[in-house]
């Protein structure tokens, strides 16, 4: 093949796939000049998004979200616990994000992925600070019992835009969540009520109710490369372009979070464009 002295010379000799692997940046730049991406998306378009509610039958609330190929499964289990002394009438949400080795060839068993704890923390910060869930709704008996919601998100396929998909699946799972009926038994403990009319105990909450979501957050991740802003990158695009920006807005157009770790200098005007 000979040494490549200019990409133009080599691109006529090498197949498209090989060129894509050997010179990914130049491959993408050729596409960007035409304002299009290798999967035929225009620069500003996100991939196809699907959500399926109730994917896990045994959980109190669950959802499967897909953005393109990135797939996340979120499930919520509710448990009764005693609230802390400082907030006696508030429940609690514990959010955990897992990246099992199935999701990507880079993740191997035994060694947790680098991105996993970061996405988990960003997710919990976003959900708790956006005020989507009012923790007071999760309270049962003030000072004695409150709900603890364990939200687990499993990444099944990591193909870029992990935070977006995770947030989407978490919000969908919360919207699907039904709080089970419980009642107070004689020992003063909360038990799950079995059927209607079985006991003479007063149920604490009459029926399974859904939790109220206010100001739902939604996010968009973009990569920046020179003057181009690409929305919703795939894993390949994320790995070769060094600047990733994630903007989270809530339904009243307030900025919940903007994360832009490192990368090239972003001029002021581009920041306005992205938001």
């Amino acid at each position: 093949m000979g040494l490549p002295n200019a990409s133009g010379d080599l691109s006529t000799e090498v197949e498209v796939d090989a060129f894509r692997r050997l010179f990914p940046l130049r491959f993408y730049e050729k596409h960007l000049l035409e304002s299009i991406r290798p999967d035929a998306r225009p620069l500003g378009r996100a991939r196809e998004t699907t959500i399926a509610l109730g994917a896990v039958a045994s959980a109190n609330g669950s959802a499967l979200a897909k953005i393109g190929s990135t797939t996340m499964l979120a499930a919520i289990k509710m448990e009764v616990m005693t609230p802390s002394l400082e907030t006696p009438d508030e429940g609690c949400i514990a959010i955990d994000f897992h990246m099992p080795p199935i999701c990507s060839p880079i993740v191997r068993p035994g060694r947790p992925a680098e991105a996993a704890p970061v996405v988990a923390k960003q997710l919990s910060d976003t959900i708790l600070s956006s005020g989507m869930i009012n923790l007071k709704e999760l309270s049962l008996v003030s000072g004695k019992a409150a709900w603890m919601a364990y939200l687990d998100i499993y990444c099944l396929d990591a193909d870029g835009a992990l935070f977006d998909t995770a947030l989407l699946s978490a919000v969908a799972a919360f919207s699907h969540l039904e709080i089970p009926v419980v009642s107070l038994n004689d020992d003063g403990k909360i038990v799950l009520s079995e059927e209607q009319g079985l006991s003479d105990r007063e149920p604490v909450n009459k029926e399974k109710r859904k939790i109220n979501l206010s100001s739902v957050p939604f996010s968009l991740t973009c990569v920046l490369h020179k003057n181009y802003i690409l929305a919703d990158p795939t894993a390949e695009e994320e790995s070769i372009m060094d600047t990733i920006v994630t903007v989270v807005l809530d339904s009243s157009s307030q900025l919940v979070s903007l994360q832009k770790p490192g990368g090239t200098v972003l001029a002021y005007t581009s920041a306005i464009q992205v938001s």
């Binding site: 680098e114 704890p117 970061v118 060094d242 832009k260 770790p261 200098v265």
Partner: protein, 243 residues
């Protein structure tokens, strides 16, 4: 708008800054940075041979280890490590020493608000002390939007917990005094110091508040970069007298 802050500072006033370099003798570079009571120590070891497994061998690799003051390493520390790593990767010239790893260890000595910006500043100074080639320095500030709607800079921990509705950590490139003609340092028609390297926000704020924070942060970054420059020049003249 007149604002009451507990320590008597005005809205735009930063806490007293103190910085010293070359405090650890075994590390290749080290620096300590304190803003008021927040103090962070950074040490740089490198470049060492070899890169980590999934990293590109044609570039230098940066590894960050964050050590909190107390407690075990958990998710917040991992997040700080990632933010610091990405920020420093964009500031250093990575193509000069390919296939090497530079380790930066950050130790929190005291946390009194604005921890991440202090750590970024300390890490930059330590990199300068170690002689790692960089494109420009990064200066970091923390802006916080309080519940009543005004913006303050460089909050203490008490202010962060009580008053704030949201805060933003912003990192800007150093302002440039260059001998090159003006036109060569423009990014998209704006001078390079108007860009943002890193921005991490927390809590809800409106988009306008965010841009307001950006402007305030940029103004403060000019003061910070002056401080950095004076500090570096002073210490380099001291060492040249000694050496």
């Amino acid at each position: 708008m007149e604002v009451d802050r507990e320590d008597g500072r005005s809205q735009n006033q930063l806490r007293p800054l103190a910085c010293s370099r070359n405090i650890l003798h075994r590390a290749h570079g080290s620096a300590s940075w304190s803003q008021g009571d927040t103090k962070v120590l950074a040490a740089v070891y490198g470049p060492k041979a070899g890169t980590k497994k999934n990293e590109n061998p044609e570039k230098a690799c940066i590894e960050v280890i964050w050590k909190p003051k107390t407690g075990q390493i958990g998710k917040p520390e991992k997040e700080y490590e990632m933010i610091l790593k990405r920020t420093l990767e964009s500031v250093c010239i990575l193509t000069v020493n390919p296939n090497t790893t530079t380790s930066i260890i950050v130790q929190v000595v005291n946390d009194d608000g604005a921890l991440l910006p202090s750590a970024i500043n300390a890490a930059c100074m330590a990199l300068v002390d170690a002689g790692i080639p960089m494109k420009h320095l990064a200066v970091a500030v923390c802006c916080c939007v309080a519940k009543s709607g005004y913006v303050i800079l460089d909050p203490t921990k008490l202010e962060e917990q009580q008053k704030m509705k949201a805060f933003a950590y912003l990192v800007f490139p150093n302002s440039v005094h260059s001998v090159l003609p003006e036109g060569s340092l423009r990014v998209e028609g704006e001078p390079i110091e108007n860009g943002i390297i890193t921005s991490v926000t927390h809590g809800i704020m409106s988009v306008d508040d965010y841009f307001y924070c950006l402007e305030r942060g940029r103004a403060a970054s000019v003061k910070l970069s002056d401080f950095l420059r004076r500090n570096l020049q002073q210490q380099s003249t001291d060492s040249s007298k000694a050496g």
